[in-house]
Subunit: 406 residues, 2 copies
């Protein structure tokens, strides 16, 4: 799906908050497209991060985890695309360390104040000569302060740039949160994909920041499903530099809640952009499950529906095939009464309780003609609910992923 109106975000993203700069360049990992990005805070920032749960973790993930533990403050994120530095063993680990060291040298800060990130082909070692020369060059270009080029440089086969920002006031001071992201699930041949980088000029202590980021990530990036493949490189890294001049955000305060809400908005926007850009995707699908015994059950049900190839292909074919949706909830492992199940698509009831079809099939199919589908699934068992975002499943997905290297 192509994105039309993203001009506003282009201008800000990670550079919208005060005291952050970013730029992207071509260093030679890819043939001609931008492939190296640097995000920099002019003053020390606290950091929070969430990493892939895949047992196979790329070298930069390992290095980021160590630095997050070992350093109180952070200043920069260096990212290359075109090569994931995953499944590259000891050499890969050394290369990731060297990327941090070279960036630290160029910026005159400590290596452990850097985060390192890579995305692209798995199983090949990084072309370190090109990357090291690139790092020298990119540090000099930071003054250009160009969020768009940074957002472009983290893309692999993404078809559009993903950036977002929101500003709001806390006690008369303007606070801004910005972010850029790339990829969607692990949907690319040999690609390790979902990356997101978030900056804010709010002031937050490290422990608090980690709690907020984890919570909001659980409701956004952890609620999108493209194909169920989890990458070896997924990471969300967030920096807070306090340049807005507000006091440290404290849990339980109104300001804390407001910040959480705005962070949710920014990450939700990036999450939905990732789904929209899912390979071969032609439709964005929001799945809402209500009336489950608890939230966990609701999420299980929503996830089974979001992952079902039968449901995803039916939505692609604009076939309001309720039997597939009900069957997917049926094998999700949750407890519910199938006879109480209801389906509402874009506000129109398709199935009532007791398996009662409420519309002729042609009319029901009409509800799937839209580019954005809201699927409301009512279990009528309890008060549990969940929301996920996913996309449809097209021939194009198979074509792209079956013939990537031919």
């Amino acid at each position: 799906m192509q994105q039309e109106a993203i001009e506003i975000e282009m201008k800000n993203g990670v550079t919208a908050p005060k005291g952050f700069k970013a730029v992207g360049i071509h260093c030679g990992v890819k043939k001609s497209k931008k492939d190296l990005a640097l995000i920099y805070s002019e003053v020390p920032a606290t950091a929070a991060a969430v990493f892939t749960l895949n047992k196979v973790q790329a070298a930069p993930v390992l290095v980021c985890k160590e630095y997050l533990l070992n350093s109180k403050n952070h200043r920069a994120i260096i990212v290359n695309s075109g090569n994931a530095n995953a499944c590259t063993g000891d050499q890969g680990y050394k290369d990731a360390l060297m990327m941090a060291e070279k960036t630290a040298d160029a910026l005159n800060i400590k290596p452990e104040e850097i985060f390192v990130s890579s995305t692209g082909v798995i199983g090949e070692t990084l072309p370190m000569d090109k990357i090291l020369m690139g790092i020298s060059a990119i540090a000099d270009k930071l003054e250009e302060d160009d969020n768009l080029s940074a957002a472009e440089a983290i893309m692999t086969t993404d078809t559009f740039v993903k950036a977002a920002a929101e500003s709001f006031a806390i006690k008369g001071k303007v606070v801004t949160i910005g972010g850029i992201a790339k990829g969607s699930g692990m949907i690319h041949p040999n690609m390790a994909t979902m990356l997101a980088f978030v900056t804010t000029d709010a002031a937050i202590e490290k422990e608090t920041f980690q709690i907020i980021l984890k919570n909001v990530t659980d409701k956004t990036f952890n609620k999108i499903v493209v194909d169920g493949d989890t990458s070896t490189n997924d990471m969300v890294i967030a920096l807070a530099n306090g340049e807005s001049g507000i006091e440290n955000l404290k849990p339980g305060t109104v300001e804390y809640s407001l910040f959480s809400k705005k962070l949710y908005n920014v990450l939700k926007k990036l999450s939905i952009d990732i789904v929209k850009d899912g390979e071969g995707a032609t439709k964005l699908v929001e799945i809402n499950v209500t009336g489950a015994l608890n939230d966990k059950d609701a999420e299980k049900a929503a996830r089974a529906v979001a992952l079902s190839p039968l449901v995803k292909t039916a939505i692609h074919g604009e076939d309001a095939n309720w039997g597939r949706i009900l069957a997917a909830v049926g094998y999700s492992g949750i407890d519910f009464d199938p006879a109480k199940f209801e389906i509402i698509i874009n506000g129109i009831q398709i199935l009532k309780q007791n398996y009662t079809v409420t519309l002729p099939i042609d009319e029901a199919n009409q509800t799937l003609k839209h580019k954005e589908i809201k699927l409301l699934l009512k279990l009528n068992a309890g008060n549990g609910g969940a929301t996920l975002w996913t996309c449809d499943f097209s021939e194009e997905y198979v074509k792209i992923n079956g013939s990537y290297r031919t």
Copy 2:
């Protein structure tokens, strides 16, 4: 995938064992193809059965479960295709009971000696007038004793008949096991799919038979993966009528082991036929995982690989994309050291330990040119192993499932 040489099985299937008859006819649920099958034992038989774990269970599944509990002996299986009698509420339940009652009348036995099975569209009530007339007609045709017509009558969008049989000697007496099956996972639009019916002239007590059937099903039908969608109607029903003249099989005996082994062969053949006939499938893939910490871990790893759309599309595209396979094992949730992972395809090593690629990519891709792929994944952690069968994922799957009703 089309099947070439299945003539031998055509002649036997469920009618190969002594004392069993079967026939299939057209009764009008489908437009013109056969849609009603009857399998009959001339003498009382013990029965064993395994049913779908989907929380949404079709009416015939509910009726079969009751009859299995309430009757010591069984005589017949009545099956319609074209309509699954699933998500049909009270009416569907009454209809399933009526199918059993009508069949019992026609055969002059008790309703609870019958098993009822349905496969086809979900959410529509059965055309009972046609089915009841069909049951009268089919009982009269039993004398034709035609396994092929029965196997055809349980098909929906299957492209070939699935039947198998094996004979062997126990204490000088010939024992035979035969079976027919249809469908593959829940891969059909609105279809509730995997059915298998097994007959034998061995003598086995009910409790023992249930244990054997459950064990062998776990190693065969429960080890095939097409798309991960589990149907509302899946069932395996087995009848043992003792007509071979052998004594009751007792656990722990050589005869018991032999019977289990032969039952495994028959069900494995049917299972693999189901995978080969997976919608859009062009390749049969056997996944062997060895060296896991335990068998459960091995199965988790194999299942993650078998379900990964990225792996399935790569195999379809004949791309020996080892990063996708390793990443799928990585998110399967098991404990292993990615650096010790090895991949062998059709006997040729593609990846050695320490992420060492052993072949140029073009040569590695050659290993996937075959129609039948054996994927051996060595974890080198312990002694756990598992074997699964799956198929590739083609554009054709999306086309079939996205445009079924248009």
